[in-house]
């Protein structure tokens, strides 16, 4: 999976979790950009990504997931 394909998947997950079909994220999008991105929805995001991409994050990694770009970096590192 390349970065563009991954971005599409992540975008869909964000749209589902935040219940907004038109939501457009960017690599720099972080929790201060989306109102509902609180700690509870953060877990929902992580769980959804884990199940969609079939990966697992460990403790240390969870704290590095600050924005969309960082998430993608980590995911790509894990799957490639």
């Amino acid at each position: 999976m390349n970065r563009e394909e991954l971005f599409e998947k992540i975008q869909e997950i964000f749209r589902d979790i935040f219940d907004n079909e038109n939501l457009k994220i960017e690599e720099s999008t972080n929790s201060s950009d989306i109102d509902d991105w609180d700690s509870l929805n953060h877990i929902n995001l992580v769980v959804a990504i884990e199940s969609e991409i079939k990966i697992k994050f460990n403790f240390d990694e969870l704290s590095t997931l600050k924005d969309v770009g960082a998430m993608m970096d980590l995911i790509l590192k894990k799957i490639n």
Binding site: F18, V47, F57, N58
Partner: protein
């Protein structure tokens, strides 16, 4: 998207699409609102969201009280004005093995172990006692087992073992729930076994977010809780309608013949169908009505149940439709014949085309997508919680007999010149008395599920009925009817509240299986008698129209009540001066 909430659950999709499913469900119309307090011993946010989905799907608009993280004990055991103001209809206590804070050390003596056990017991007992003031059902988790067991196998049988300790607590919870009528156990011990502890627990989500169970298990847990709520509210299904070929046996009886169908211990497949029949028979024994709806020749279809290995017999089915008409028409006929709503029916058919037609023509019938593999059929019935039951009354155990007897009565009726003669021939005897403790379960059950002969369709919980039965200001009556064919059981309930020489009939209902037997007149005569003995001079009747209770719209007028007015909420008020009432003659003997 709502279909995601049917078994088997795709947990990750349910979580991911949770908000979208909710939006879709919120477009529906809701006639019922309920309030649920969730007192958690761990994080409950996502659990509450998923519980909401399952309740919305059942037509309940729900509001929640959610305790702060791990504040279940404080919320329950101490005064809590917010919770009092909230007035919960249900309290759910989400505790797990993580909430057992103290186990015995390996050096503890038997006495010391006993003290630790007593401490845990008294903690939970004090929670349940304290919650009594909310007058509502309490749904309490029992305990799941931890993922690890430091004593290995010994953990399960040595008094110091955690497994041993938790099993003992579970046993205590079960005993308490047998005694305490408002305590219902949510059996997570079973659910976690069903899931496998490896999947039920998720250490990552426990340590990072304090969810005591995995995300994967949340939908199953939520569905289980909602199953209990549904059952308490009388929303469980009543009737299972079965297809025959490749559902009750393997093969096609019309082609393969009686000896060609697969049923019995000779083949793996035959044994699987036999197991399915045995399960269905267990449902029947606890009061689920069975019916057949099959595209078949009637005589040939019937012959299938004469198979020497068949557990189900032709007589076990209250209604048997084997013909070539569309199945949705047959199912409508079944509903009319048995006198139940379409929303009380579950239809099982291995043929996806038939399922689809029935589901699209009769959207209120439950048609699980069971596939065509007999191995999965039982799971589809069970895990969708269609027939969840929270207590077993004698009436449940005898229900099929009642319906059977009714069919014989119908046949007899045809032989009489007029209806009065028929009624007379039945030699009916009724017992009509004030509520008594042994019948409160059954009375509550009737109050919550009777729709047609029901003047006000008010629902009450067991604990409320119990209070009414003890309150001097209420006149309460139950009615049991027997006749020469058998005992119809407790089928009629009415009660009214006394204010200023007047009794207002709050609730009056009767099970459909004793319709047109004059039982309502016998009940009312007795009710008037009770009013007279208390020197009352007036009875107020209320008729509140629903989609299902048209049959009693003229009842008060027939009894000689005078119309007073129609209130803004649509209920019609009737009034009867007792001195003007002449007892209505009927054919029922009062014991």
């Amino acid at each position: 998207m709502v279909e995601l909430l049917n078994y088997p659950f795709d947990s990750s999709m349910i979580h991911r699409k949770c908000n979208r499913i909710r939006n879709e469900l919120m477009k529906g119309a809701f006639t019922n609102e309920i309030k649920v307090a969730v007192l958690g011993g761990s994080t409950t946010n996502q659990l509450v969201k998923i519980i909401e989905l399952f309740l919305l799907k059942e037509g309940f608009l729900v509001s929640f009280y959610e305790s702060e993280y791990n504040k279940y004990y404080e919320d329950a055991a101490f005064d809590n004005q917010t919770l009092l103001d909230f007035k919960p209809d249900f309290i759910y206590i989400h505790t797990t093995h993580h909430n057992i804070t103290e186990y015995s050390s390996l050096k503890a003596t038997n006495e010391e172990i006993e003290i630790i056990f007593e401490n845990q017991i008294s903690k939970f007992s004090s929670i349940w006692n304290s919650l009594e003031k909310y007058n509502c059902p309490i749904i309490q988790n029992n305990f799941d087992l931890p993922l690890n067991r430091s004593l290995g196998n010994l953990d399960s049988y040595q008094p110091h073992g955690q497994t041993y300790f938790l099993n003992k607590l579970n046993h205590f919870f079960a005993k308490e729930a047998q005694k305490n009528k408002s305590l219902y156990i949510n059996d997570i011990n079973y659910l976690s076994a069903l899931f496998g502890l490896n999947n039920w627990h998720n250490k990552n989500i426990w340590f990072t977010a304090k969810y005591a169970i995995s995300y994967e298990a949340i939908p199953t847990l939520a569905n289980n809780i909602v199953g209990i709520i549904k059952s308490i509210l009388g929303r469980s299904k009543k009737c299972l309608v079965l297809d025959l070929d490749n559902t009750c046996w393997g093969g096609v009886i019309g082609d393969d013949g009686l000896n060609g169908i697969k049923l019995g211990n000779e083949s793996a497949q035959g044994e699987a169908y036999l197991t399915f029949q045995a399960y269905v028979n267990k449902l029947r024994e606890r009061g689920i009505i069975l019916a057949v709806c099959s595209k078949n020749n009637h005589e040939i279809a019937k012959e299938g149940f004469t198979h020497s290995d068949s557990i189900l017999k032709f007589e076990d089915f209250t209604s048997f439709k084997a013909n070539w008409d569309p199945k949705y028409l047959n199912i409508e006929n079944i509903a009319n014949e048995i006198n139940i709503g379409l929303d009380s029916i579950v239809f099982m058919d291995d043929n996806p085309v038939e399922r689809n037609i029935v589901q699209s023509q009769l959207p209120s019938v439950s048609v699980p997508e069971i596939g065509d593999d007999i191995l999965n059929f039982i799971d589809y019935i069970e895990r969708n919680n269609y027939f969840e039951v929270v207590n077993l009354s004698n009436d449940d155990l005898n229900r099929n007999k009642f319906y059977k007897e009714n069919i014989i009565r119908k046949k007899q009726k045809a032989a009489f010149e007029n209806y009065d003669q028929f009624l007379l021939s039945l030699k009916m005897n009724a017992e009509i008395k004030p509520f008594s403790n042994v019948y409160l379960d059954r009375i509550t059950q009737l109050i919550n599920k009777t729709n047609q002969f029901n003047l006000t369709t008010k629902r009450y919980k067991l604990i409320e009925v119990e209070k009414i039965s003890k309150n001097e200001m209420f006149i309460t009556l139950y009615g049991k009817l027997t006749d020469k064919f058998g005992d119809n059981g407790l089928t009629s309930v009415m009660f009214g509240k006394i204010t200023n020489k007047t009794c207002v009939i709050d609730t009056w209902l009767m099970s459909c299986r004793v319709l047109k037997r004059d039982m309502e007149f016998a009940m009312f005569n007795k009710f008037v008698e009770k009013c007279l003995s208390k020197n009352l001079n007036k009875i107020i009747g209320i008729y509140k129209r629903t989609a299902k209770n048209n049959m009693v719209s003229n009842l008060f007028s027939d009894l000689g009540f005078e119309y007073v007015k129609e209130k803004s909420d649509g209920s019609i008020i009737w009034e009867l001066k007792i001195k003007n009432y002449n007892s209505i003659v009927n054919k029922i003997n009062i014991n």
